[in-house]
Structures are given as structure tokens and as C-alpha cells.
């Protein structure tokens, strides 16, 4: 117990001190600083140390100590210009005239009495990223990841109630406890002796994830999606900033800096507001280490799958059975349509795994047509998806939304920032387009542009950001699911018409039962792990199967050249890939190929049928 406490202390407080002191004292031998950082990075990789670091996502800012180590799970929303700072500088004590070398790294402000003419001054360069919490991250992800954290921290002190209960209690009488707590973080520079386990734990526990953003509302924090909450952060990057790209998701470990006053600069007020917002709202984080996140599912180990063979093998063996469960669940949700459920699974685990010049491979946009418009079916359907995928967004394609929403990020040259739009999403976010909301009417210029942007997103998996004088293309990896009545006006990789097995008269009833169907949380977690896992698996096709696929294609063409085109083969290969992965198989087997062919055939025949009924499809 005590051991954990010490580690905890050490991590959040000692690391910055260690780094500062090694850097400044041993400037001549600058290897020291890198060693300290390296040592620290190793510490993070090993064991579960990283769970001990408080996270900006969960802990309100005013409970965190300045200059302590924190982590932040975020998306790079904007990249500012690089800045030059004093890497090493010398200070002169006005009374004693003694000179001292100091390190400017990982800090925003210098000490007093800087000797500007010192020959020891070293100017260095760093880059600033504007980071926001991962857009569309679903509540369950936040809940689980914050509970993981608090569990670790709550363990040492038995005198406190478990965090969840405590939190709800907190929320009830916020008024009483708040003032008392707030005194502490403002107590100025702490000496290490001040931080005893109890004080720290208390601060941890009293976190209230939702209570913090009320004050932030007047400042536009530039979140991609409307109604998002959470802290945004200016992350200062000291090394290798070229390896980061816009819209990357990262877990940043760094030193928190909040003690900043206003800064005089000659830019316009808007620019000032954006580039140096009050540190109490947008804290600065000096990056020590950043971990790219391949996914943001807290139920999965964050390390690469290969390193975690035990986890991998245990889930792989279960996959087929989980698939059965999830299939029956989806069948139920989709009103008894098993084929649509099958396609829904494939869609949810799809992923752009590679690009061939302009062609993204592996995308699988699903158009679910024939959605009932009664009893807000699509919304309920989305709520279910929301429960299963780590991040998602519901976009009602109403005329008003299309004509008014900002989908494509746009550069604001006055404030010199990239104003975010709803299509600036992290990889593997599920974007749910509800076309049933679309009514007749006229799209204006913005509307046409928005629809074009959606079309581009679906066909090429890219978004052209608007830089006013030119456009810039940013590749993305977003799973788009379109729910519509007839065929969608947007392109899609695959269209399936829903065939409810429920009589229209019972539709209402069975719809309401979907929502009522409570899923045990262990069951839900199983589904969540399954969907994220399937996406991360590797996949290959053996030469043998390649041959038989080729033969199949040639045979099919021989019978009826019109029946299958190159595009169909493209789709079938994707379906086969996703089908294998959904079964936990990492290479294509003959069976899976046949099965893929089979469900494709079923789907196509259903489309023909539908065509005959409708008679207006091209």
C-alpha cells in the first residue's frame, strides 16, 4: 500500500523536479536530461505505472497541482506555429550577483533576473499542438477509464468509500465541499513533503467529471462536435513533432503548467485569445512522452496486441461464440433481419488499413435502407451503437443541419486557427448519418458543400479542409453508417434493405422493446471488446485461396459478364476480409470466401427484389 503511495508521489511530483534539476545542473553534460526522460519513459512502459498518473480527462483541472505529471487522452485538433524559447539561460541574483544556469524546458515562464547577454543562453525550438478530448467519445469509455484510474488510487486508504458512491454524493451537495477543496490547489509551490498520501487521494476521489466545464462556455474551445465537454489543452512538444499528424489520437504524459498570467503580444485580440487562452481554462502540458493510441477502448490493453499474447489468444478463442451472441442481439435490434445484422457487424469492424495511391482499402460504408420512420427508430438504433463503440457521432441529415452545420474544418486567418467541423474526427469513429430526417426542400450553398464533403468522405475517406485560398486534403478513417428510407443520396460501399420480420402492426411495440432490453454490463463489455479486437487483427490471404478466388471470379464472369464487375469483386474481397476477421480468423479460408459470396448473393437478390417492388431504382 505504502509502496503505491510512494510511486504515486514520485510520479506526479518528483519527475518534474528531477527533470528540471538534472537539466539545469548538468547543462554541460546534456546527456543527463535525456537520461532522466528516458528513465521516466521506461517507468511508464513498465508495470501499470501509467494508471497512477492522474488524467486530465477525468480529474478537474483545479484538483491538479501545477507542475505535476498528468496524462491526457486527446486528439490533435490544430497545430500552431513552432516557437523559440530559452532552452538554457542564466539568472543573476540581484543581491549576491551569483549566476546560475537554469533550464527553460518544460516551463512557460523563466525565473526572475534573466541575464540576456549570457553567452550560455541556448535558444531551442518547440511546437505547440492544440488538443481536445477525443471527439464523440462515448460515456461508457469515460466511465470505465476513470474508474480504472480511481480504483488504483483509492486502494490505499480504506477509510474512504468507493469512488462512484463518493462521486454521486459529491454531486448532491457540491456547495458544501467545493470551497474547502479549492483552497488546496492554490496553495502555491509545494515542497515534496507536503504531499502525503491522504491529501492526494482525497483530491483524487472528489473528482466530479461533469462539474468542470460550466465556466468554459464563454470561450470557444473549438471542439469538433457540438455539445462536447472536457478540457482542451495546449501541448508543447519538444522532440520529433514531425511524427505527429493532425487528428492523431494520443495519450500525452506531461508536466502541467497553469500558473500563467496574461502575455503581451502584438497580435490581434482574436489571435491572442486563441493562442494564449487563460491557463485556467486551457492548461499547458509540456510533453514528456506521448503514446499513440491505436484505439480508445479502455477494456483493451493499450499496448500493441502482439505484446499481449495471453489476452489475444483468450479473446480469439471466444470470438466465434461472441459473434453468435452479438448477431442475435443485432438481429433483434434490426427487427429480426439476420442478414442486415450480419452486415452491421462487418461494418462496425471495418477499418481503412491501407491506401493505394488514392484508393482507400478496407472501408465499408453501409447504407441501411428501409428504416422504419416510426417511434424514432433510428435514434434508438444509434443509442445501441453508442453503447458498443468507443466513439461515435449522430448526425441528423435534416435540411437545417445540412444548411447550417459546419462539417468541414476551416482556417480562420484572423484568429489564426483551424476552426473545427463535425468531420474532424478521430480514426474509427462511427458516424451515423440519419437520412430519415431529411425532408424536401432546398439545399443552399453550404448544404451542397456539406453533402459533397460527406460524399468525398465516403468515397475517398478524406476531408478537404478549407484554407480559404486553397484546400488541403486530410485522409481520415471514419466508419459511416447511413440510415435511410429509400436508397441514400450519398454513395455507399454496400446497401442493404431492411426487411423487418415483425408485422407492421407490432412494429411500434417491438421497437419499444428494443430499448427496454437491458444488457448486462458484462455482456456489453464482451461485445465492446469483440468489436474493437476484430478491427485490430492482422489479415492475409494465402496463395492457394488467391487462386481459387481468381478462378471463382473468372467463372462468374463466364456465366454472365454483367453479373459481376471489378467493383463487385472489390466489395466481395472486403466482405470476405471482414467476415474472416469477425470470426477471429486472420487469414481467408475457402469457407469464409464462400460464405462471403453467399451473403453477397443474398443481399443482391434482396436488392433485385426490392427493385421490382419499387420499380424506380436505376
Amino acid at each position: 500500500m505504502i509502496h503505491i503511495n510512494i510511486t504515486d508521489l514520485w510520479l506526479s511530483n518528483y519527475v518534474p523536479i528531477l527533470i528540471y534539476s538534472t537539466a539545469s545542473q548538468n547543462n554541460s553534460n546534456s546527456g543527463w536530461e535525456t537520461k532522466a526522460v528516458e528513465f521516466f519513459q521506461d517507468q511508464l512502459k513498465e508495470r501499470d505505472t501509467h494508471t497512477l498518473v492522474p488524467s486530465l480527462n477525468d480529474v478537474p483541472l483545479h484538483y491538479l497541482k501545477p507542475n505535476s505529471l498528468v496524462k491526457f487522452r486527446c486528439l490533435i485538433q490544430d497545430m500552431f506555429d513552432p516557437e523559440f524559447y530559452m532552452g538554457v539561460y542564466e539568472t543573476v541574483d540581484p543581491s549576491t550577483k551569483t549566476k546560475m544556469l537554469r533550464c527553460g524546458k518544460y516551463k512557460d515562464v523563466t525565473e526572475c533576473g534573466v541575464d540576456f547577454n549570457s553567452r550560455n543562453t541556448v535558444t531551442a525550438e518547440r511546437q505547440t499542438f492544440y488538443c481536445v478530448p477525443i471527439p464523440g467519445e462515448n460515456p461508457w469509455v469515460k466511465e470505465i477509464s476513470s474508474s480504472c484510474l480511481t480504483e488504483a488510487r483509492v486502494v490505499p486508504s480504506t477509510s474512504y468509500a468507493p469512488s462512484r458512491q463518493k462521486r454521486s454524493y459529491e454531486e448532491d451537495d457540491d456547495m458544501d465541499t467545493q470551497p474547502q477543496k479549492q483552497r488546496e490547489p492554490h496553495a502555491g509551490p509545494h515542497s515534496p513533503s507536503e504531499h502525503h498520501g491522504n491529501g492526494d487521494c482525497k483530491r483524487q476521489e472528489t473528482e466530479a467529471p461533469s462539474s468542470q466545464t460550466a465556466s468554459a462556455s464563454h470561450l470557444d474551445l473549438n471542439f469538433p462536435l457540438p455539445g462536447e465537454k472536457g478540457p482542451s489543452c495546449l501541448v508543447k512538444v519538444y522532440e520529433d513533432w514531425d511524427r505527429f499528424k493532425l487528428n492523431d489520437t494520443l495519450e500525452v504524459y506531461g508536466i502541467l503548467s497553469v500558473n500563467l498570467q496574461f502575455i503581451l503580444s502584438m497580435e490581434t485580440a482574436e489571435e491572442q485569445r486563441v493562442h494564449s487562452p487563460p491557463a485556467s481554462l486551457v492548461p499547458r502540458l509540456h510533453m514528456l512522452h506521448a503514446k499513440p493510441l491505436p484505439h480508445n477502448n479502455p477494456l483493451l490493453p493499450s499496448a500493441a496486441l502482439e505484446d499481449n499474447s495471453a489476452f489475444l489468444s483468450s479473446t480469439l478463442s471466444e470470438m466465434a461464440s461472441v459473434r453468435e451472441e452479438i448477431l442475435s442481439y443485432f438481429t433483434h435490434v434490426l427487427l429480426g433481419d439476420a442478414l442486415a445484422a450480419e452486415y452491421l457487424i462487418l461494418h462496425l469492424i471495418s477499418n481503412v488499413y491501407s491506401r493505394r495511391d488514392v484508393l482507400p482499402l478496407g472501408k465499408f460504408t453501409l447504407n441501411l435502407s428501409g428504416c422504419p420512420t416510426v417511434a424514432s427508430y433510428t435514434e434508438r438504433f444509434y443509442q445501441i451503437i453508442q453503447q458498443l463503440v468507443p466513439s461515435s457521432h449522430y448526425l441528423a441529415m435534416s435540411l437545417q443541419n445540412m444548411n447550417q452545420m459546419r462539417l468541414v474544418p476551416k482556417k480562420d486567418y484572423v484568429a489564426n486557427r483551424l476552426v473545427s467541423g463535425a468531420l474532424q474526427l478521430a480514426r474509427n469513429t462511427s458516424l451515423f448519418l440519419d437520412e430519415t430526417q431529411l425532408e424536401q426542400g432546398q439545399l443552399d450553398t453550404t448544404g451542397v458543400r456539406n453533402v459533397t464533403a460527406l460524399g468525398n468522405l465516403i468515397s475517398w475517406q478524406k476531408v478537404d479542409y478549407d484554407f480559404n485560398y486553397h484546400q488541403m486534403e486530410f485522409p481520415c478513417n471514419i466508419n459511416v453508417l447511413i440510415a435511410s428510407e429509400g436508397r441514400s443520396l450519398l454513395p455507399s460501399d454496400c446497401q442493404i434493405h431492411l426487411q423487418p420480420q415483425v408485422a407492421p402492426s407490432h412494429l411500434e411495440e417491438s421497437l419499444s422493446s428494443i430499448h427496454m432490453h437491458p444488457q448486462a454490463s458484462s455482456q456489453l463489455n464482451k461485445f465492446r471488446i469483440y468489436l474493437s479486437m476484430a478491427r485490430l487483427l492482422d489479415y492475409s490471404i494465402s496463395d492457394e485461396v488467391t487462386k481459387s478466388v481468381e478462378d471463382d471470379f473468372v467463372d462468374m464472369r463466364k456465366d454472365d459478364p454483367q453479373s459481376i464487375s471489378a467493383e463487385d469483386l472489390h466489395r466481395m474481397l472486403v466482405v470476405a476480409r471482414l467476415l474472416s476477421l469477425s470470426l477471429g480468423q486472420t487469414s481467408l479460408s475457402r469457407d469464409s470466401w464462400l460464405r462471403a459470396k453467399h451473403i453477397e448473393m443474398l443481399r443482391r437478390s434482396r436488392m433485385e427484389q426490392h427493385k421490382c417492388v419499387n420499380g424506380n431504382e436505376p
Binding site: 534573466v114 547577454n117 553567452r119 514531425d242 498570467q261 503581451l264 483551424l418 473468372v554 472489390h570
Partner: protein, 849 residues
Amino acid sequence: MSSPTSTPGGRKRGRNTNPPTPSSEDPTSPPSQRRRGQDSSTGDLMPMPTSPATDMLSPAAPQDTSLFSSPRPSVQPNEVDMSSPLMYGTPMRGTPARQRPDLGSVRKAPQVDLHSEPPSTDGAVASEPNAGQRLVIWGTDVNVGTCKEKFQRFLQRFTDPNSTEDENAGLDLNEPLYMQKLEEISVVGDPVLNVNCRHVQSFDAELYRQLICYPQEVIPTFDMAVNELFFERFPDSILEYQIQVRPYNALKTRNMRSLNPEDIDQLITISGMVIRTSQLIPEMQEGFFQCQVCAYSTRVEVDRGRIAEPAVCRNCNNTHSLALVHNRSVFSDKQMIKVQESPEDMPAGQTPHTTVVYAHNDLVDKVQPGDRVNITGIYRAVPMRVNPRQNNVKSVYKTHIDAIHFRKTDEKRLHGLDEEAEQKLFTEDRVQTLKELAAKPDVYERLSSALAPSIYEHEDIKKGILLQLFGGTRKDFSQTGRGNFRAEVNILLCGDPGTSKSQLLQYVYNLVPRGQYTSGKGSSAVGLTAYVMKDPETRQLVLQTGALVLSDNGICCIDEFDKMSDNTRSVLHEVMEQQTLSIAKAGIICQLNARTAVLAAANPVESQWNPKKTTIENIQLPHTLLSRFDLIFLMLDPQDEAYDRRLAHHLVSLYYQSEEQMEEEFLDMAVLKDYIAYARTYISPRLSEEASQALIEAYVDMRKIGSGRGMVSAYPRQLESLIRLAEAHAKVRFSEKVESIDVEEAKRLHREALKQSATDPRTGFVDISILTTGMSATARKRKEEVAQALKKLIQAKGKTPAMKYQQLLDDLRGQSETAITKELFDEALRALADEDYLTVTGKTVRLLA
């Protein structure tokens, strides 16, 4: 402006009159400067901290240094005035000097005698025995005298016989270039001399190094040198101000992203796009003080953003009696300009960087937002203060560039003079690789297969697009009245949906630097050409250019060409042959260059290609437009087993091969890009004698094919296409000469495209008139026959003045052995109406005469 009277008289520039300058060991010299002196002795570039070393010698005084760039450590002004060799404020035959705020407070730098240290610049300096030559400007290794002499020598001797710059148009290239420019100055009276740094470098590398490293000191020296020379040469000329030297094209830095702390205080050139300009900021240069007691006035120069207000009046000795008189003080103009990295320079997945640039005096308002510029200037960094009342500073510097020279890079696109601005710099290695590649016999095949490797087969189409990427040679016949000759190859792809036409277009759009991608449905005529817009900020009318103008010198990819409205399509007529775009709208009448190649894709009208119909009938495009395409390809599903197998293999491998494997097989996209860029800039092939002969033969042959059947199968437009294709093919080989193999390939490709698109489905013959008149010769013959049959029918009916339309059609159908469509019948009627034989009104047909 510093008037002649304000400077102490009798002090001429020149080293010999200088009082002894403090040696570098002088205790008052600040450490950073001492540092520079020592550094220069080791020949290193100066290390970083020099610039941010602002004056913290008087830390108590709160001031906003951020507005002013890299000030020198404070030295007593009068002491400096006496010692500075750079006081070029001295009247030069009555011509006043103008201050250069772009260089900062340069005249404060005194000279330093280097004789106590081993001089590093011995090579240049020691050869001249003059002791004064050992004096260098404090903190640098610049000796004013030597530097001046060198520069004068440069001006007098430098010639650039191979100059291609448009600025030098009209100058005799074999005479000293800059002397001619000085002459120009004496005539025009614009006292600015732009100096290409590359010229300086080729003339004297050492001088160039000094210019780059110590621009603040060297440029005033240049100013002095040029003025001395100028007034010696043209003693009678009257200039408003003394000449200022504006260097440009410093090779230090090209890209904004590569700016780093080492560039601070150096002369750099970066390229970028102006995104915002501020209002004009008046900046005080000189304060005018007047004594309230005795009305004695004095002037005080601004020193690093501060005016040392005189405490005591020198005339009446009253203290604190002087007041600043604003409207007699001297101000200079200043403007903040934000420049953003040009999109081409950026790595994928990152956002563009921006830099602040300050323009001074006449450079203010030289550029507008949206302009592409090359900026030469001095890179500065100044620390920011957290709070003016506090001493601790934010550990971040603010950086900006003091502009010395702007050069718009897109200006030329309007004039269409040359492509120098777009010249990409290729390293020697790269050129070598490219040339090696070009020397390979199968380079053409290699490149075409590297094009869009994810798209299967369609070899000829890829080859066609490849030739389009290279383009023909631009020829100018404006002397003979014909105007420019189109060099761009236009291509139309048509075919079944789902044959990856769009993908091909996307690929091309991503490959070429100046590509535009539009969709026929989504673009209006306005979006393609240009429109006039009121700028919301300035309320000025601005001409916004559309896709076709933006892709000048590039490729405009137009998808869903068939879905474009006729109105929109009509603007393409001019662009596709004349390569210009005329606008007459909102009082703006102009002609813009649109030398763009068009790559269009069209779907057949009936969603599936109907092999029984001609191209025109299938895509329903006006033949006037079709004939402007050099190559028209059909992208059809070939439907044969071997093809299917290869296609399947290709697709499957696409889905399982790793990225590396694929890359091994094909050329890198970057190499392809460079290859094309290199060929486009450096290679302009000309027809050889035998190639011309081959072309003539080919053309005659093409005409002959048709003439046998009474058809014309080639028009001069086809000959022009052939020439363009042959030239492009020569470019692919990096050959300066079009040879017969180029013509062979052009012929083959042209024939292939023709075979696909201009085959008359009724006869199976190639018939160019399908494209030129929209109707094949057989169809025309058939029309004629039907008309004759109809006439006979009517004549057989005897003298009936009017007939029912439907009745006539039925009769004709009953009589004819071939099927007669309604269209055919209508056409026949029209033909007879043209002969004034009959007239059709509504549903009745009336005979005339």
C-alpha cells in the same frame, strides 16, 4: 527623415576619419558582441543567442521591446555617432538618405579593430596593407572598406549572359548587368536597386556569406557603395532619396518549415502565401522636441523603440522644459503581414505554418492577401514579457521577418512570360537519377505503368494521360497573328460506370502540382471561370478565379462531364483551343490565361455504353467540343477470360500485399512527380526533319484512308494533336528532338484512341467525321437516301398541297425496306425543307411552289 542639417557636418564616411574605435577587449562592450567578434575569428557562423540578447542592461526600465527588432546593446548615442562608419545620412550632393527601418538600428554599430586578434579574413584583408582595413564592424567580420570595394567591383563587372529573368528584359546581357540598372535608375528615378544574391554568390562567395550572416551591417555598406558609384557616374541625376540596395533570392532558406534558431538575424528568403495584412502602423523614427521656455527645438532619434527625452534644454538650460511635437516628428510606415506556407511545401497530415512579416516604408501595401510571394528579409526573435511591470519574461521569443524585398511569384502567371517561378530546385543527385531513368529504353512503359498502379490495365489510356502530363512544346505564333499554339493535350475518357474513371482522375489530380478537380454536376460556369466578389473587409471588388484559371499550367480534371450544363460547357470552347478565358462581367473585362490541359470523364447517356451507337450518340456532347479533345478513350469492360483472370489477380493482390511489396514493383509517386516536373521545365523538344516528314506522311495517310470511301478521316486539328503527342513523347525520353519513334508512338496512340471512339458502328470503319460533324459519313448518306425516298413518295402522291405528318411517316415506313425511325424521318423532312421543297407546320406538311 533625417534631414541633412541634423547630422553633424564635415563627417564624411570613410575609415580614415574615424576616431579610434574601442577594441574588442573594451570593458563596456557587452558580452554578446564580444562573442561575435571572437566567433568571427574562428570563421564560424555566429551562434544563436545574439539576437535575443536585447538590452537587459537596464532591467528596471519597463518597455515593450516586442515591437522592435533585435536591438543592439545600448551604447551612448553620441559616441556611436562619431565612430560609426555607417552614418550614411551624409548628404550626397543634396540627395537625402532615407532611413531603413527594415534593417533595424544599424547605424549604432561601431567598428572594432581586430589587430589584437588573429584575423580570420586574412585572405581578403591582409593583402591590402592599409591598417584601416583591419577595422571591422563590431560583432562581425565585416570590414566596411573591403566590403564596399568588393561590392562596387561586383556592380561594375558582373554580367549574366544566360539570364532569363523577366526583370532583365531589354538589357544587354553581355554588359555589366547592374550598371545598366543604375542607368535605368538615373532615368526612371526610382532609387531602389534589387540585387540577386545568387549573382553575388557566383561573383564573390565570401561577400555573399557576409551578406547572409550580417545583413544588418552589410546592406548599409552596399548602400554606400552604390551611391558613391552612382553619383560618380551620373553626377547630374536627381533622385528623391539615395539608392537603397534590396537583395533577394538568398538561398539560405526556401521553406518556412525549415526556419530554425540558427537563422535568426540572417538574411533569408522564404516563399509563402500572404493571408492577412494589417492596417498601416505609423512608427516614430525621430521625435521633435521643443523647449516650452525658449522655443529651441531639437530632434531625437528613436532608439530601439524608445526616445531619450532630453531632460535639459541645451539653449536655455531649463530642465524638463522640452515637449514632444507630434506633427513635426518623423514617422515611417509599417505593416504587419502574415504569410503562410505554400501548400506544396507541406508534409501530408500537418497544418501550414505562418510567419509574421513586417514591411516598412514603400514595401507597405505591396502585397495583398492571397498573393504568392518570395520574401527576402532578416529573421528576428525578441523575448516576450509576461507583464510590463514584471521582470520575468515568458521563456518564448516572438519571431518575425523584417522584409527587405518582396517578389510575387504568381504575377507572372497573368503575364505568361515564363515558368521560372515554378522551377523546382532539383538536387544534382535527383537530376542524375532522373536522367538515368530517362536513359532506360523502356522508360515510357515504366512511367505509364507507374501511373495509378491500383487501376488495372488500360495501358493505352495511361499512356495517353502520361503524355498529357508532359504536354507538348509551347509555341508562340503571335508574331504571325495566330497567337499561341496550344501545347496541352486534352483527353476525354468515356465508358461504363464503375470502370474507375473517377479514380484515374483523382490520381492525376493528386499527382500534378497545379491540378484542379471538379465534378460536372457540382460546378457552374462561374465556378470554372472567374467571378467578381466584394471583399467583406475592404469592400473592394475582387476577381476570384475558378478552377480553369487556377489550373493554369496544370491539369483540370472534370468528372461527370456529361452532366455539366450546356452553359457551363460552352466556356470550355475557348479554353480548350485558345487557352484563354475572356471575362466581361461587373465592369471587369479581361482575358485570363488558362493554359490548362483538360482531363474529362463522361458516362454514356444510357448508363451503359451502347456499342451500336457512335460516341456522340452515346455521350450526347456537342461535336464542337469533342473535336477539341486530342484523345478520346473508351473505358469498357473487355469481357474476356484472360483479362478477367489478370484483373482478379490484380485486385486480390491489392488486398493482401503489403505496402512495401507494392512499392517495389512500381515507381515511387514522388519520382514520377519530379520526373514530370523536370521534363516540363527543362525539356522543350523541336521537330527534327525526319519527324516532320513522318508527320506529313501520317497525315496524308489519314486523309487517304477516308478519301477512298468519300469520307474525310483527318483534319488539321488531328495533325496538331499528332505533333503535340509526338513532342510529349520526346519529353518523356528527355530528348530535345522529336524523332520518328515519337511520331510512331503518337500515331499509334492516336489511332488507338480513334479506333475506340470514332469507329462507325454501322460500318466498322474509322471515321473522324463522327467527331468533327457529329455524324458519320454513312449516316449522312443514309439521311440523304431517306430524303430522296420521301420526295419520291410525295411526288407519287400527286398534287396534294398538304399532308398529315403521321400519315406520311406511316407511308414511308410501309414503302421502305429498312426501319425508319422518327428522328430519321424528321431529318429527312428538314433536309427537304432546306431545299424549299416543303414546310412543316405542327402536324401538317405543306408543299411549296
